[in-house]
Amino acid sequence: MSGLALRGISKAYGGNHILRDVTIEAKPGEFVALVGPSGCGKTTLLRIAAGLDHPDRGSVWLGERDMTAMRPSGRDIAMVFQSYALYPHLTAGQNIAVPLAMRNLTVWQRLPWIGSLLPGQRETRAEIQRCVFETARSLKIDHLLDRKPAQMSGGQRQRVALGRALVRSPAAFLMDEPLSNLDASLRVHTRSEIVELHRRAGVTTLYVTHDQAEALSMADRVAVMMGGRLLQFDTPEAIYGNPAHIEVARFIGSPQINLLAGEVDAAHGIRIGGRLFVEGVGATPGTRVTIGFRPEAIKLGGSSQAGLGASVKRIEFLGSETLVFLELAGGGGSLVAKLAPAEATVLNPGQAVTIAVASGEVLVFGSDGSRLPVAPAMRMAANG
Amino acid sequence: ETTLNVHYPMPGFFKDVMDRISKKFMEEHPEIKINFVSPSPTYEEGLQLILRQAGTVEMPDVTFIGLNRLRVVAERKISVDLNPFIAKDGDMVEQGFSENILKLAQFGDQQAGLAFATSNPIMYYNADLFRRVGADPDAPPKTWDEVIAIASKIKDLGDGIQSIDFRWQGDDWMFSALLFGAGGTMLTPDEKKVAFDGPEGLAAIRLLDRMVKEGGMPVLTKSNGEQAFVAGKIGFAFQTTGALRNVINNVGEKFDLRTAPIPLLSPEKGRLPTGGNAAVMLTKDPAKQEAAWTFIKFAAGPYGASVVVPGTGYVPNNELAAKSSEYLGEFYQKNPLFKAGLEQMPKMIPWYAFPGSNGVKVTQTIVDNLSRVVEQKATPEETLADAAREVQRLLPRK
């Protein structure tokens, strides 16, 4: 088992800086999720890790070995391509079998026609078939093994692409949104298969996903990238609850975190629209800050209660929960609250409510986006 | 003013000649304008063009056709019979067109054209190689036995030097040279049966066989033979005198080039085939026919010959030209290499053209069989028998 380290990677395409000094060190056996907005350089980073692109600067290490100059085929890395990159002339089964055949059959045995006549490859081939079938079954595509990619649906192709990677036991897995085209139940199933495989084989994995649930639930650590930079690389809990940067807070969590502009007053408290909201912030009085709190941190009260006043704009039903879109009184901004459906039934658009946020759930960001420390004795003034 | 559309083959060879003749002709006959249509690369392609255009407006008024293909146009009545014009003129011999010369382009009672450029086969030899094997270049061999004797010595020189290049490929002309030289003929006089399978034919093929066996003649393609000879690597070359100018040019100063008459298997009965082409009238328009006749006579006449001979190596097809110093007399004094062909003129007879629709194919059959001898894949006797049988099959059955 070996870790995968990307150190100081920079990459530019014709003047456009795609990656700027990105360092991600995945420990042996670690599962790292890579998230970030579209176009932030995730795929590029994965391609560099696989050796398909060359970094302008920086190095790639697998365990103790510097792999930067090594050809992709020598790196022993399995990758799921965002575009699948299936071999159109091979059936699903043959596609999945390719990496095994490359490793377990000799050059001669792999030759078309002639190869299958050579001695000593019957068993190997049978073994490969078995592995392919196993993998296919875990991905629920065992009934499609004889189809060519052109005869499969989008999600089926994606699973074949995934199968082609999972069938191996490589030094590291790189997966680029491997579940994006799967339906929810299949995704849950496949996700658990991947987790299961990862538990069993303990192969270091770099996993790109846009699904936060996936990133947060599967990963040991999450790397958040933005505009080619690595913003935070930490455990899921820390990324969600303790974001290092306003962009991370904004990016993680759906619906987005609620952000309100405030100003630090002389007593190191933060005032929003004139009302004290948080106390004990370690920032120069007078600086503008932003405070953030998650939608589920909001508790709504009747209009008579204490707290920030707001009115209900829209209610969105999502099955297991309900989103309530709110407009702060006095045009102070919009907020989203996430409620249990039962709680929301009493609400109607246009209704006036007050907003309370549980203490300990408020994050403060400076004007450059970085987190500001809040004194331990922090007090939620609004909820006071 | 009449415009004559004139077509000719092998511009690489004839362009300058044609240009000069037409220039002079238009000076002498200002009422006639000569317009050359695009020439054809070879005699065959020229003939195809004429056959295709026969009867259409594109057909030229005058063309030049290889002597062995003349019969094709004559039999198809594409050429205009020149006898009426000759009859009207009356004094052909005075203009240098002897009976012998007229005969070269006669088929049955038809005068299909007037021989324009005529050639005969001669012997080219490399005097330097002669000296190296102790032969006297100034006394060239007169018989085939002498040729073969010298050739076998030259062959032994080694260093890639070879003895003989006998141009047997392509058509039956050089075979005719051996056959006619032995006094033989291709067919019986009634043109119904093969006649070359007699003793003359056998002698001819045996000679070819000896050239290979005793003289060490290599198997060469036509152009390979030429190339090797002008490179100085071959002792004898037997081919048309028409190539003389080119050979002289290509040899330059590399070695001492000589020519001599080709030996005959039978010095008395022996004759030689006439190569070259004839000017043929095609236009059926009486007005144009007059102009065409004038041009044909001019081109085939002494002036034409005086242009053709030095430029090519052909022998004069007009007796006036050969004799008169006005035309070529001095030329032969200055260019002795050209004399070999001239000396052989009395022995020239028509290049035999086979009758019927397979006429042309017959020549290929003969060539194919000759190659078996040259490659030593068959004996002369077998070859002769096969050739005779195949040719007989191709002759008209009627």
């Binding site: 050796g51 398909l52 100059a69 050809r71 992709p72 965002q82 575009s83 699948y84 299936l86 990619p149 989008g154 192709r157 994606q158 | 559309n5 077509h7 092998m10 511009p11 690489g12 060879f13 362009k15 050359f36 249509v37 695009s38 020439p39 054809s40 690369p41 070879t42 005699y43 392609e45 063009l49 295709r52 259409t56 594109e58 030229p60 890639g160 152009s223 030429e226 190339q227 090797a228 002008v230 490179a231 100085g232 690597k233 048309t240 028409g242 190539a243 100018r245 080119n246 050979v247 040019n249 290509n250 040899v251 330059g252 100063e253 590399k254 190569g275 090519t312 190596g313």
Partner: protein, 278 residues
Amino acid sequence: MTTRSWNLARVLRLATLSSGALIFLGPYVWMVSTAMKPREEIFSSSLALIPDRWAAVENFSKVFTRVPMLQLLMNGAIVCAVILVVQVLVALPCAYALAKLRFPGARLMISGIMLGLLVPIHATALPIYVALSGAGVLNTYFALAAPFLISVFAIFLFLQFFRAMPDDLINAARLDGMSEFGIVLRVIVPNAWPAITAFSIFSVVAHWNDLFWPQIVVTETAMAPPPLGLIFFRAAEAGDDYGALMAATVVVTMPLLAAFLLAQRRFIEGITLTGLKG
């Protein structure tokens, strides 16, 4: 992926390519050398590439004085251009239809194309000649181009290339409101440049160098294409004027080589179909 470093594979590759190139170039070395030589130096017992006496001027001036070479080159250019344009315009839509549309008669058409590939021009020359002659259009650029207005080679080549194009690309174009012809023009052509370029090269080369057909329909040198100029340096019976012939060949070949060098960029620019996922 390919590093520029020197390794064994690269050395082997370069060695193979270079030795192959030598074999391919050999004849041209001799050709150019001959074009520079006087006649007597061309065939000799020793192989010398550099002439003792330079005759390049002599040979090349023959090329331009003995025949109206510039006129011939011009004719060649015009005829090749006409042929190429019509061939491509006719072949592209047809190949597209065969590759991407289902219609009765398509298979028959493919058989027709195979037939077209096989039929030698010698076989069809006569009937076409008779027709052109009947129409009184011999000795025109049209007559030179007529039999080649359709290229079954082009249809076949394009057919194979278009087949590989993703159907969804064409479907997207249909939904965007393109007509089928519009699809050919706007989607197929821009993505099939390598094939079109390859064909263009072949077409131009073939008709620039064609000697057979021009001889049939052209009797005026003013209309003749370049190869007809070469026959002025050939004399089958008596041996060619090698120096001038080679000089003429160089002159006739150069424009083609230049065109190839220009066109081959298209091979590098080849478009890989990256607009699709899956």
